[in-house]
């Protein structure tokens, strides 16, 4: 069969068994492609299990820099007999199935529109290594070696990565390289290498980096000056705190005394975690917690307190598929509404929606500033896809002249110079933001009582209706002030004026932008787009929607939560917003977005739709 050679534009999926040490070998593969200058986006697809169940690692290789999930698989490395049938079924026509041929393949696994590459990994390992643990580990490294031959990956790049990985444990370098060679040689001797899918060196990654969103959040918290962190373990947020701890150990420990410039408390639950954050922030430290949906539910009473008592609070919500335990290791953007209005009574919170690790880093540092400036909770809504996968992004940046914005805080000198009575909840500047003092500031001035009950401008308990209303209205003024301080939306306009727009946020960004590119390229459809980066929504978002007849809202949940939020915050006619949803727990694909938009446009232009105008 004469085949078309496809260079740097394909998807490889590794099918493994959870707990067999495949993760680091698979990572080696992505990193090698990346170091060859070719953009890559790997995604872990794993079960809620520690050992034994199927797990996958899907790597998209795309020299044009499209990093969202594409949909469809071209090469499967099938190392898990349990999932083999399904893995083979997922291959596109003309794909390859690379498998461990130590055991013969069942006839029912055979398809005539794909190629099979059997390599006896287990057998080779059994003759090479006696220790069963080594047999398992090196089997993983070995299939990477075979892929290098099959896909034309530069072998030097792999050995370079192994050398980097085992810095300080040099003894391990030679055996790992040996395992790579074993796989490489076998493939080269037994098959026509390279196959039709190939990696070729490019210069398309520039100075970009490969990092997971959770590490970037943890690092952002270090740079942003967080000193107190309290948390309760939950997938997929745990690695935020792991990263914070790792970077703190590196940057925040006195080399002589071992004393730490940070405190991390593993709380007994999420109620305690957020309570500790609120206590620390009330007392003048920068503090944060990280959790996922179920934890946010537990934190809601406290979030109401922090909103009403005006205590800076930073919460990173790495979303997963709910409700309840849902699919705890699968991704979704389904806490949009819960976070926006978390708690009882009239509450609303500042939400930030990062789309890539660089934004995770920046938004976390910014959230600490915003929380102090606005004296209110700030919630960062990341998700499992962004948080737990390596994402290619621009290098992280920090301006050394940047100082922390600690907001409106009176010092002892301020209090001494003050003629009028200090009013904790007085709107002195007309922006809705009052001044606060830290406990311990002054022996006789500036103390106040923080409470969740209604109070007047001087923090004195009151149930007088007009005082309550004045306070609630001031909080709305503060919300208006916040609009100007939060990250602005990103608007992309086509050259020609167009009547249809697309709105997206968070991890729907990369696949949406890719879909828009292909809509133009393949179908001649050009659409304007807007990426939402924060709540409160900037006025530009309303203007954008107003300027288009129809606006798609791309999101990864069942109930079109962002669409509801737009409708309720802006009073928009619902007919104007068209939902584009995906919620099976996998990241949304560019293919789905492109097809749905194309089909909708075809349908609507042939059968004209009317929409009611208010």
């Amino acid at each position: 069969m004469k085949r078309e050679i496809i260079t740097n534009l394909f998807v490889v999926k590794f099918a493994n068994v959870n707990g067999t040490g495949s993760a680091s070998a698979n990572r080696l593969f992505s990193k090698a492609v990346f170091r060859m200058g070719v953009p890559v986006s790997p995604k872990n697809i794993f079960p809620s299990n520690i050992q034994g169940l199927p797990t996958w690692y899907e790597v998209r290789i795309n020299e044009n820099g499209f990093l969202g999930r594409r949909g469809g698989i071209d090469v499967v490395v099938g190392m898990n007999p349990q999932s083999m049938e399904r893995d083979i079924g997922e291959l596109e026509r003309g794909g390859y199935f690379v498998y461990d041929s130590s055991k013969p393949l069942d006839k029912k696994m055979l398809r005539d529109d794909i190629d099979y590459i059997g390599i006896p990994f287990t057998e080779i390992c059994r003759t090479e290594y006696t220790d069963p643990r080594q047999q398992q580990l090196f089997r993983n490294v070995m299939y990477i070696g075979s892929l290098a031959a099959l896909l034309n990956i530069e072998f030097d790049v792999l050995t370079g990565l192994i050398t980097d990985q085992f810095k300080g444990k040099e003894k391990l370098i030679a055996p790992n390289v040996h395992a790579l060679e074993l796989g490489f040689k076998y493939a080269q001797e037994h098959f026509d290498c390279p196959i039709a899918f190939r990696v070729e060196r490019r210069d398309n990654v520039g100075n970009k980096i490969l990092i997971d969103g959770n590490s970037a959040c943890g690092l952002g918290a270090v740079y942003g000056g967080a000193t107190v962190s309290a948390w309760y373990p939950i997938t997929p947020s745990t690695s935020v705190i792991d990263a914070f701890a790792r970077y703190c150990r590196r940057f925040r420990v006195d080399p002589e005394t071992g004393e730490k410039n940070f405190a991390i408390v593993q709380a007994e639950d999420e109620l305690a975690a957020i309570g500790m954050v609120i206590g620390a922030a009330w007392n003048g430290a920068r503090a944060f917690t990280a959790t996922s949906g179920p934890g946010v539910s537990l934190m809601t009473e406290f979030l109401g307190l922090a909103y009403f008592a005006e205590v800076p609070t930073v919460l990173i919500d790495v979303q997963r598929a709910g409700p309840s335990t849902g699919m705890p290791t699968r991704t979704q953007q389904s806490d949009v509404l819960t976070c926006a209005y978390a708690s009882h009574g009239d509450t609303r919170h500042i939400c930030l929606y990062p789309s890539n690790p660089k934004e995770c880093f920046e938004f976390t540092a910014t959230a600490l500033d915003l929380a102090d400036r606005l004296q209110t909770p700030v919630i960062i809504l990341s998700d499992l896809d962004l948080g737990m996968n390596d994402n290619m992004c621009d290098p992280l940046e920090w301006d050394d002249t940047r100082t922390y914005d600690r907001g409106k805080v009176f010092t002892a000198e301020d209090l001494d110079a003050m003629e009028k009575r200090f009013g904790r909840y007085l709107d002195v500047d007309g922006d809705g933001i009052p001044y606060r003092t830290y406990p311990g500031t002054h022996p006789t001035k500036g103390s106040f009582f923080t409470r969740g009950t209604s109070k007047d401008e001087y923090a004195v308990y009151t149930e007088a209706g007009e005082k309550y209303v004045a306070n609630m209205d001031r909080l709305l003024r503060k919300w208006d002030t916040a609009k100007k301080l939060v990250p602005a939306p990103v608007i992309r306009k086509t050259k020609q004026p167009c009547t249809i727009g697309v709105v997206y946020f968070g991890t729907s960004e990369a696949p949406t932008l890719e879909a828009l590119y292909h809509l133009e390229d393949l179908h001649g459809i050009s659409l304007d787009s807007l990426g939402i980066k924060a709540l409160p929504f900037a006025d530009e978002i309303a203007d954008f929607i107003e300027a288009h007849d129809y606006v798609f809202v791309v999101e990864q949940n069942r109930d079109a939560q962002m669409r509801s939020l737009l409708i309720s915050e802006f009073d928009i006619c619902p007919d104007q917003l068209v939902s584009l949803l995906h919620y099976d727990g996998s990241p949304i694909t560019a293919r789905q977005i492109r097809r749905e938009i194309r089909d909708w446009i075809l349908r609507t232009t042939t059968t004209p739709r009317r929409r009611g105008r208010k």
Binding site: D269, G275, M276, P439, G440, G452
Partner: protein, 350 residues
Amino acid sequence: MSYAIPGFRHPNLPKNDLGFTTKDYEGAVSTLCAGCGHDSISAAIIEACFELSIPPHHVAKLSGIGCSSKTPTYFLGNSHGFNSVHGRMPAVATGANMANRDLIYIGVSGDGDTASIGMGQFVHSVRRNVDMVYICENNGVYGLTKGQDSATTDIGSKSKKGEPNAMEPIDLCSVALQLGATFVAQSFSGDKHQLVPLIQAAIAHRGFAFINVISPCVTFNNTPGSTKSYDFIRQHMASSNTVDFVPHAEEITTEYAPGTSTSVTMHDGSAINLQKMDPNLDIHSRRSALALMQEYKAQDKVLTGLLFVDEDSQDIHTTMNTTKTPLRALSEKELCPGSAALEKINQSLR
């Protein structure tokens, strides 16, 4: 209102070492029921802090929700206060303590706030040995929600509602002892002579200091059938020891008959002098405290006084080896690694 503050003050009101009078340690006028035990505890806190000449702003007072948790408004008006949410004072206090290890943290809670909704937070703050004073104002009833039995109500005890309680009570001192609390005391709101020095010793203690104070609710649980009424406690209270707290600057003057007294030197040089009322209590032995409490309970008696202390206790900051500077005082200089370090990180991610 049980303890109204008169507007007029004697010009010669005694001053402490800092030149403050008790007025500087008072708070807003209490809105609790006249005769409520909680108000006496507030008065004891005021007296304890005044006598120790604690700068008022060196204290942060925190509470949950309940009549008891309202009281921080009524003492130490020059200190910052935080009336948080029901049962969650320990978390807020823990966080506050993380931010600034230099302040004194006084947490006030009730029996509902501690032994029911906040039980989880209570036991975990004990385990962490956060440097704070934790006072449970225990009236065996939910005052603020009007008289339901609480988890500390004794079997057979009858509140105003009249139904005898059928369930085992939670004994908070025993729980604290079993979880490794480093300072455990029990007292009665009506016994100022015992309570004031206990609060002072608790403040001097480095680590989690728990005081369970029986504090009658005159409105819902001061009935003849209640085991938390004034009459019952007065008749059934037994002291393990009398407590005298001596700040380090002062010379020890009290003299006791030999063999009947002990002195415990705290980490800051202050001392707790104890005159033993029951020779069987060894305040350095959890086992002895637990056993003795059981014994007294079997005799229908409530054992009060200092029950256990570990004066070598290491608080959570010591265990974690946090810097001596309050974390909240650190600036960009100490906290931010800067752009050069970030570039190195970028490099390692390529």
